[in-house]
């Protein structure tokens, strides 16, 4: 990003402010939704959805992932695959005759 011109940076700054607004709004939304005491599966889905949107905003704009080099994407894709394997871990433990406690 070091070769950006001043005009580019100004545009970036505007994006940062917009993202900032969105993040604030989404935070409020997720808190408000939690007040409704939705059934757990729905509540979890909504909360995770909102958190994922917020996280993506941070990653894409503040961390500039939206315009990163291929190599970084490759590393992150690889990590994502193993991250999924890791999250599958509780699933393989709970189901299929495993004892749980």
């Amino acid at each position: 990003m070091t070769s950006d011109h001043a005009a580019d940076i100004d545009r970036h700054v505007r994006v940062y402010i917009t993202v900032f607004g969105a993040l604030m709004a989404l935070t409020i939304i997720t808190v408000v939704v939690s007040r409704f005491h939705l059934p757990v599966p729905i509540a979890v889905s909504v909360a995770l959805l909102v958190a994922t949107i917020k996280g993506s905003l941070v990653a894409c704009y503040f961390m500039h992932l939206i315009s990163e080099k291929k190599l970084i994407y490759a590393v992150l894709m690889l990590t994502a695959v193993f991250f999924v394997a890791l999250l599958a871990l509780p699933a393989v433990t709970v189901h299929n005759g495993y004892w749980i406690h």
């Binding site: 890791l86 433990t93 189901h95 299929n96 406690h101």
Partner: protein, 587 residues
């Protein structure tokens, strides 16, 4: 691999003037940021830990061969708390066992193979002046060092070192003595060290490779270190998380791994409960399966280099080897639960994990086969590095093939807790990896010191070790198949069914002690050759890879002129060439 050489004669550009700023003793040899010094620090420390871990094992072997017999002399020295009257207490046996495993894996082999060889050789092989982050490199060595000191110090705390095996299974380990806390803290240092190292290796290999050195021109050793670094980077953090949770369980009284209603010696343990002991096993093996590839891949890389060099032939199937390696690294993340068939998992899960396990054995077989075919029709030079490298092949082969039954649920259940498993993985790591590491030491010693190690002593070391290794471990297969459990402090003496095979314990033990004697020529050779070995030039083995372009030993900054790669790594015996090898770095 016959890419056309670059056309124009390259203008050698001076990489840098070697700055002769006089570094003091401390900055030069102790807190150095030079990858070669750090590599040697790692290697020496790793070798010392290997020796220490081996000594623990020799003590255990006494107890296994002669259960309950007082150990002359040394037994008394270890004190009443450990060996009253010279006889080993079961608790002390457990300390030795747990620490043998931990030290061999995390403080011996990995530091030597990755920290030592990786640090010393990789930047040289890719034609770099140093690692990408020299200070981080130093930090990673010292973090490892602190981890090692913590582990050693744990022998001295009340109750002694950890006794829960190198796997530290919960809930037992949560309820164990102070040594276990030290173990966890030590592990956190070691994990941090490996993570910093992995970041450094990956960045270095991607960024600092010489001009012209594309990925498919990498020596196979560089590839193995590259994949290994990814394994460390992504598999270690889950164990770090698990270690933090176990530490919380022990120190802050949480119950991550303690189930409700846990009863110990007739008493319900007073904890909140609700935890899951299996969680530890999952997180542990999520690391520890990739870890076994961390233990073996660098060794395979070393063997590949030495075989190509001494058969004077290109490696057979270099590309398939690389692809297999990458595939293997990838798959190693989804086989971990094959260590957990005994936990009562359902059939669908077991089927999944045994399938992935069978699949992951394919790339290992491809690599091993490619190496064996590489021997075919070569005019082989049987020098000491080559002897060790060639012996690696059948030894690793035995270890690998005997592992297949353990990957199958049905066969694993009777075998899992027996000496069969000990024999299986020791064939992989002891006559396998350790031989590869010895091969590497003999092979790169001239690069590090400018002198060769003595061949006669090397051969005595080799043949003695080869015979002894098999005398140690082959009987363990038989004992395991007879049903003798591992981790028993009397080696099975109290079990009727074990009686017919008990004499094998004596064989195995004498094998281990003799093995120790055959390391003496190596130790002597090592020190003697530093000062008195035959002097060599930069490229004593007539090798092709870039590390041999540097003077021996390489100065700070490595290469007088930044090297370039003009061709693949193993251009030996190219028809029509003037000599029987075309170095990568010669235009």
């Amino acid at each position: 691999m016959t890419e056309p050489a670059a056309v124009a004669a390259p203008k050698p550009h001076i990489a840098h003037e070697v700055p002769h700023e006089a570094l003091g003793f401390w900055r030069k040899y102790v807190f150095s940021t030079d990858h070669k010094v750090i590599g040697i620090q790692y290697a020496i420390t790793g070798l010392l830990f290997l020796l220490f871990g081996f000594s623990l094992m020799m003590l255990m072997r006494w107890q296994l061969a002669y259960p309950g017999a007082a150990l002359p002399l040394l037994g008394r020295l270890l004190g009443e708390a450990r060996m009253p009257g010279g006889t080993m207490l079961p608790e002390f046996y457990n300390e030795l066992g747990a620490m043998h495993g931990t030290i061999m894996v995390f403080l011996g082999v990995v530091p030597l193979a990755v920290g030592g060889f990786g640090n010393f050789v990789v930047p040289l092989q890719i034609g770099a002046q140093d690692m990408a982050f020299p200070r981080l490199n130093m930090a990673s060595y010292w973090s490892f060092f602190l981890g090692g000191v913590t582990m050693l110090a744990s022998f001295l705390v009340p109750g002694g070192a950890a006794q829960g095996g190198w796997t530290s299974y919960t809930p037992l380990s949560v309820l164990a003595g102070t040594g276990q806390t030290m173990w966890l803290i030590g592990m956190i240092f070691l994990i941090t060290s490996s993570l910093l190292g992995a970041i450094n290796f990956i960045t270095t290999i991607i960024q600092l490779r010489a001009k012209g050195l594309t990925f498919l021109r990498f020596p196979f050793f560089v590839w193995t270190q590259f994949v290994t670094a990814f394994l460390l980077l992504l598999a270690f953090p889950p164990l770090e998380a698990a270690a933090v949770m176990q530490l919380m369980d022990r120190v802050a009284g949480t119950s991550f791994f303690l189930p409700s209603g846990l009863v110990v010696s007739g008493q319900v343990v007073a904890v909140a409960g609700g935890g899951n002991p299996l969680l530890w096993q999952h997180l542990f093996w999520f690391l520890a399966h990739p870890e076994v590839y961390v233990l073996i891949l660098p060794g395979m890389g070393i063997v590949a280099e030495i075989i190509a060099n001494n058969t004077r032939k290109p490696l057979w199937g270099y590309r398939s080897m690389v692809y297999s390696l990458v595939f293997l690294g990838f798959m190693s993340f989804i086989v971990w639960a094959h260590h957990m068939f005994m936990t009562g998992m359902g059939t669908a899960m077991a089927a999944f994990f045994q399938t992935t396990t069978m699949i992951i054995s394919i790339p290992s077989v491809v690599i091993l086969t490619a190496l064996i075919i590489s021997l075919w029709g070569g005019s082989i030079r049987f020098n000491t590095p080559m002897l060790f490298a060639v012996a690696f092949l059948p030894m690793f082969g035995i270890g690998g093939l005997t592992g297949l039954p353990l990957g199958l649920n049905v066969a694993d259940i009777p075998l899992h807790d027996t000496y069969y498993v000990i024999a299986h993985f020791h064939y992989v790591v002891a006559p396998g990896t350790i031989f590869a590491l010895f091969a590497g030491i003999y092979y790169w010693f001239p690069k590090a010191t400018g002198r060769k190690m003595n061949e006669t002593l090397g051969k005595i070391h080799f043949f003695g070790s080869l015979v002894c290794m098999n005398v140690v471990f082959m009987p363990m297969f038989l004992m395991g198949l007879a049903g003798v459990s591992r981790r028993l402090f009397d080696g099975g003496a109290s079990y009727a069914f074990a009686q017919p095979v008990l004499h094998l314990n004596v064989v195995s033990s004498w094998g281990a002690w003799t093995l120790a004697i055959f390391q003496i020529p190596f130790i002597f050779n090592f020190f003697w050759s530093i000062w008195k070995g035959e002097q060599t030039d930069g490229n004593p083995w007539q090798a092709t890879t870039i590390e041999w372009a540097a003077p021996s030993p390489p100065p700070h900054g490595n290469f007088p002129v930044a090297p370039e790669a003009y061709r693949g790594p193993y251009e030996y015996s190219v028809p029509g060439a003037a000599k029987d090898f075309l170095p990568q770095y010669e235009a």
